[in-house]
């Protein structure tokens, strides 16, 4: 799972703006921000919030796959479990939404630590199978545990008052809360990717034995990025539970793990903005094709096959090639 980016060559053609961020990245972030601030007045806010939650989920996943080179097929576990915990915290414990999201995120982090420390003992295909199997275990747990509500899920989760003050029942108000979470999330991911830690991750992705021979404790780096990715997936899941006022088995099932892989693959793995584009495309497709039942599944399968066979760089990856700039 490697993308051909040569950081030195890229740096040479990239002008660096303020705060060490390349100018074109700064411009894209700014454009994205302006668009997303205007979006709830142009589009249905709930729909945009759904895109934002899944975009953050896909970015978190991409941190692991695109930059750590680890294909987890079980990211639904962290997304779904965080969404259950956050829904439970908001509904049963009566926590404010920001505390409920933090609770869900913490559980996802602990879960990521437990599963990650086992999964990194295997490589490649086995790693994918192990993460998938553990996610299925979490699914069965969610099916049987009392607090998840089984087949019904946790419904009618109150959106509550942000910090106990701001009423989030209006979708427009909630939107800006979600937007803040989304931006904090992707800026954090951007920072991680471009930190020394992120560079070591890339080194491990490209050539693990060499990274070991250089004295890096590879497994610690892998575990760290796994936990970070699981935690951020948890933020997305927990936020989604508050937005839709619902946590259900769908969020924790393997199809959800597959969807986030698809979003990342389609948008462009190993790119900063690809997963956002991929999530937007897939969520839009689900939205408009919802009435066609299983054709959505078939369509996703076809996109998977086409993307793997002839479109491995993804949408943003192809754009980056044309523009000769890393996106």
């Amino acid at each position: 799972m490697t993308t051909d980016t040569n950081p030195i060559a890229m740096a040479a053609i990239t002008s660096v703006g303020a705060a060490g961020m390349p100018r074109h990245h700064l411009a894209i972030f700014a454009a994205l921000f302006v668009f997303l601030v205007a979006a709830p007045f142009l589009l249905y806010p709930i729909f945009v919030m759904k895109v934002l939650c899944f975009a953050l989920f896909a970015c978190a996943f991409n941190l692991l796959l695109g930059f750590g080179g680890l294909l987890s097929f079980g990211h639904a576990a962290y997304f779904g479990m965080a969404s259950y915990v956050s829904a439970h915290a908001a509904k049963v414990w009566g926590l404010t939404p920001e505390l409920a999201i933090i609770a869900g995120t913490l559980v996802a982090a602990v879960l990521g630590l437990a599963i990650g420390s086992l999964a990194i003992r295997r490589h490649g295909i086995y790693f994918a199978m192990v993460t998938l199997a553990f996610a299925q275990m979490i699914y069965f747990f969610s099916l049987q545990a009392a607090f998840t509500g089984g087949e019904d899920g946790i419904q009618a989760v109150p959106r509550g008052h942000l910090f106990g003050l701001i009423d989030l029942r209006s979708s427009e108000v909630l939107y800006f809360f979600v937007l803040a979470i989304f931006f904090a999330g992707i800026l954090l991911i951007y920072r991680i990717i471009h930190s020394p830690f992120g560079q070591v991750l890339k080194a491990i992705r490209e050539n693990e034995p060499r990274a070991i021979s250089l004295g890096y404790r590879v497994n610690r780096y892998k575990l760290a990025v796994f936990v970070l990715s699981a935690t951020l997936a948890g933020v997305a899941g927990a936020t989604k539970a508050i937005v839709f006022q619902l946590a259900s088995l769908t969020d924790v099932y393997w199809t959800m793990s597959g969807e986030v892989v698809l979003m990342t693959l389609l948008g462009g793995m190993g790119t900063v903005f690809g997963p956002i584009v991929g999530a937007a495309v897939i969520v839009t497709m689900q939205n408009y094709l919802a009435t066609f039942g299983d054709w959505v599944t078939i369509g996703q399968g076809i996109i998977f096959v086409v993307a793997v066979l002839s479109f491995r760089e993804g949408i943003v990856g192809v754009l980056a090639k044309w523009l000769r700039k890393p996106l």
Binding site: L71, W295, G301
Partner: protein, 295 residues
Amino acid sequence: MFELLGIPPQVLFGQLLLGLINGSFYAVLSLGLAVIFGLLNIINFTHGAQYMLGAFGAWMLLNYLGVGYWWAVFIVPPIVGVTGIVLERVLIRRLYHLDHLYGLLLTFGLALIIVGFFRQFFGVSGLPYPPPPLLTGGYNLGFMYLPNSRAWVIAASLIVCLATWFIIEKTRLGAYLRAATENPTMVGAFGINVPLLVTLTYGFGVALAGFAGVLAAPIYAVNPNMGADLIIVVFAVVVIGGMGSILGSILTGFGLGLIEGLTRVFYPEGSAVVIFVIMALVLLVKPAGLFGRSV
């Protein structure tokens, strides 16, 4: 009759038998995965969908053509195998030069397409497949009642597993196959058509999945989703056993089925997750798997 830890023997042996049935399916499916992985180095995510195709193949033969179960046992696996060969020739082949994870993603996409089509046209409620007359009765063994249908599934999968082991370990074709697993370039240099061998191996592994599907048709309802959850458990079985050895796959499959059955007797809530828990333990103690050679 005696009681074991307060559990009547009928219950205990009944659950052990159910466990052995599940174990049969684990064994046949993980064997197919192991055979495919050995030569192609991809994990065949479509395996669950191909298992479902086997069950639907039997159902279609019966309902559209009036062809019964015993014919289906012989007709359906080769047909499913041929569909696999087509997939390998047209699509999977293009990915051999890439990272093996792309093979996983491609076969995952194919599984979505196949399962999606069957859900669209046959619904998800499940179609009944009446067992043939020969499989409806049963024997009373004294300590338990043994239904014919279950005895047949266990016997048939044991025979198929052992036949596969024999072909791979004891015949000339199997020797080519094992050699190509070790070093495909060298075997190709000796004049053996390795790409053909790869195609046939994939077809054979897929046919094994189709065979398991036919066996499953009279026992479980024929349902588009029947393979999806099963295949994830089989992945765990494969991780536990390691894919290094054929007999290892068979033993692990049956053994884990039995353990699952025992769990259902003594701690029913844990039966759905016991295999995953064992997987976690194996990863802690012997990360390469019980019969695996390298990580």
